[in-house]
């Protein structure tokens, strides 16, 4: 079954290659996009615990947490692949868009199977960089502006991650690059602290942890719905799997764990607070993602602090729900945007349930996700903050629902194509039901879900959130912030960077004049002689 792993990783790539050389495939590629993630789905079901060594430094391996995320990501890619051709119609004929789609998918699926540092870095980079093409798919100034921010943060994040990986490798005496080996060596590594800092920075920029979140809202606002669905649903989880894989949960690191938890909670509340100032429902969802990813980071931090061995599965399980919920809600928006009031109900109602599920609505998949990570958070301050963040999410999700209604098509009888609606329903069903199937393997008996205390623990934050939302919605003047909030502050910095490069270019022009270069040549000759004589 091991062959499924490379197949899952390479099938989208093969489809891309085929389309580049075969006009026949190229013309039909748009309708075939949904096929591409199928091997990934199959691998997630049947190739758990498989491992394959690929040529050179590459290798794939799949464990249970990886399989959950792989399967979820494959499914959301599939759903979006169904919706995309219906959404874009004739615009789909152009090859470049589909190549970005397939390349992003390759990275997005393979990152969950990466067995060693190089493979992880490769797949992580691929999903990040190729995602640029999806963000800017529909052109327009805003899209390219967002694309620039996205790209900058992506490459900066990769640089952090590369630094972290090199530190991990340097700190591994055996010279192995396999992820389990480097993580096992991490707690005792002399460069442990630096490695963790860069790891969190690198993964955090992908997950949108504050303040590395600035790319997410403008990007999701600018990206077309299907693209936003896969980016927010699947691509972002490359950061989550990074936390799952690289944090040394076998060794309790209280200091680091609590620091990460703090960063996570800051994002969790910040995301909600700024999300409430947004009018574009896509931006609201983006801030919700920031908040949710912050929550995941907080859980990971508390698990690290306690040395919790079960954390990988729990985190993956929580993220699995988010894949469907967030990816699904973007698909729902795609459906809403093309549907008039008359046909809105079958789209909107599931959206309300799924949205509140993110906040932990009892008996939904989201509730199960919250329950699975409850033990990791514990009952102390972190547990309380966790409940409060659920309350905060409730507010944000209610805000989202009110905003989502506003983008419905004005034509009363308009109805989204079945492909889009179907894709949304698939995602919604997965978000609501799949966690039920997986819960026993992650967090034990399903009976826990039905206990009164569990339901109460989930319900009171929602009530609190609901009340707060009522109060909030009655405010006559609510603040508004542009997507990307502090990005506004950073714009002048971008201008000054441009000024700096202007200065560098002018200096270079001066240096490359003959007398200056000649003088430098003499200076260097003398300088080297001086340096060597000094060393003597």
């Amino acid at each position: 079954m091991n062959v499924l792993l490379p197949l899952a990783a390479l099938f989208p790539l093969a489809l891309f290659a085929l389309s580049a050389f075969s006009p026949w495939v190229r013309q039909r590629l748009a309708r075939l996009l949904w096929l591409a993630p199928l091997p990934g789905l199959v691998a997630a079901l049947f190739a758990i615990d498989g491992a394959v060594t690929l040529p050179g430094p590459l290798g794939l391996a799949l464990d249970f947490p990886g399989a959950m995320l792989l399967g979820a990501a494959a499914l959301i890619w599939l759903a979006a692949g169904i919706a995309a051709p219906a959404f874009w119609r004739e615009k789909l004929e152009t090859l470049p868009y589909q190549s970005w789609w397939l390349l992003t998918m390759t990275g997005s699926l393979a990152v969950f199977m990466a067995a060693n540092l190089v493979t992880f870095y490769l797949t992580f980079s691929l999903v990040s960089l190729a995602g640029y093409g999806l963000v800017t798919r529909d052109g327009g100034a805003a899209a390219f502006r967002a694309g620039r921010v996205y790209f900058t943060l992506a490459v900066v994040g990769e640089a952090f991650l590369l630094t972290a990986f090199v530190l991990l490798a340097v700190g591994t005496p055996s010279g192995s690059m396999a992820i389990p080996d480097v993580v096992a060596a991490l707690p005792a590594s002399p460069s442990r602290d630096a490695a963790l800092v860069f790891l969190i920075l690198g993964l955090g920029s992908k997950m949108g942890l504050v303040p590395l979140h600035v790319w997410m809202p403008p990007t999701y606002s600018a990206a077309p719905f299907p693209a936003a669905a896969v980016l927010s649903g699947a691509a972002v989880k490359a950061g989550v799997i990074g936390l799952v894989r690289f944090l040394p949960f076998s060794a309790a690191l209280p200091g680091w764990g609590e620091a990460l938890a703090m960063v996570g909670f800051v994002s969790a509340f910040f995301g909600v607070a700024v999300g409430l100032t947004q009018r574009n429902p896509k931006a609201v969802l983006a801030y919700s993602s920031i908040s949710q990813m912050g929550f995941i980071a907080a859980v990971a931090g508390m698990a690290l602090a306690a040395g919790r061995l079960a954390a990988p599965s729990e985190l993956a399980f929580y993220a699995l729900h988010h894949v469907f919920a967030k990816g699904g809600l973007f698909l729902a928006l795609a459906a809403i945007a093309t549907t008039g009031p008359r046909h809105l109900r079958p789209i909107l109602w599931p959206a309300i349930v799924v949205a509140l599920g993110i906040a932990g609505l009892p008996l939904t998949g989201g509730a199960l996700a919250k329950l699975a990570v409850k033990d990791a958070l514990g009952s102390g301050l972190a547990g309380t903050l966790g409940s409060l963040s659920a309350a905060a999410s409730t507010i944000l999700m209610l805000h989202f629902i009110t905003r989502a209604r506003t983008i419905a098509a004005s034509d009363d009888r308009a109805e989204a194509p079945l492909a889009i609606r179907g894709a949304w329903w698939i995602a919604a069903a997965a978000a609501l039901l799949l966690p039920w199937l997986l819960f026993p393997s992650v967090a034990g008996s399903i009976g826990k879900v039905l206990e009164v205390k569990a339901i109460f623990d989930l319900a009171w934050p929602m009530v609190l959130g609901g009340v707060a939302f009522l109060g909030w919605s009655r405010l006559s003047r609510r603040p508004e912030l542009p997507p990307g909030d502090v990005l506004i502050v950073l714009r002048p910095a971008a201008t000054s960077v441009r000024g700096l490069t202007d200065r560098i270019a002018r200096a270079e022009a001066w240096i490359t004049t003959w007398p200056v270069a000649g003088t430098l040549l003499l200076l260097l000759a003398i300088g080297f002689a001086g340096a060597m004589v000094a060393a003597r």
């Binding site: 003959w514 007398p515 000649g518 003088t519 040549l521 003499l522």
Partner: protein, 107 residues
């Protein structure tokens, strides 16, 4: 290691050192390529003179100088000539292009 005697070799050696300085100055500061090239050749003369001094000091075995550095200079002079010839041809060709362009009054 002691101070060299003041003899012909030393004298020419010092001359070589000075010529190197003069040549470098010319290469760096002259505007026109023909003058830079002249400076390059001046500089080359200085470098070869240093070889000559080394050869002179290495006199022995019945030879008035160490033949090896002398042979190197002969090779070096020819190579320097080749460089000069190539550069001059380039300079002339460039000047011809400029003339042609001036004649057109264009570009």
């Amino acid at each position: 290691m002691s101070l060299a005697p003041i003899d012909a070799a030393t004298l020419y050696g010092l001359t070589g050192a000075v010529l190197v300085g003069i040549g470098l100055y010319g290469i760096v500061l002259h505007e026109g390529f023909i003058r830079r090239l002249l400076a390059f050749n001046l500089l080359g003369g200085g470098v070869f003179l240093l070889f000559g001094v080394i050869a002179r000091r290495g006199a022995g075995a019945g030879f008035s100088g160490d033949p090896v550095p002398q042979a190197l200079v002969i090779t070096g002079v020819v190579v320097a000539f080749c460089a000069t010839a190539l550069a001059i041809t380039l300079i002339e060709r460039l000047a011809a292009e400029d003339d042609a362009n001036d004649g057109d009054g264009s570009s």
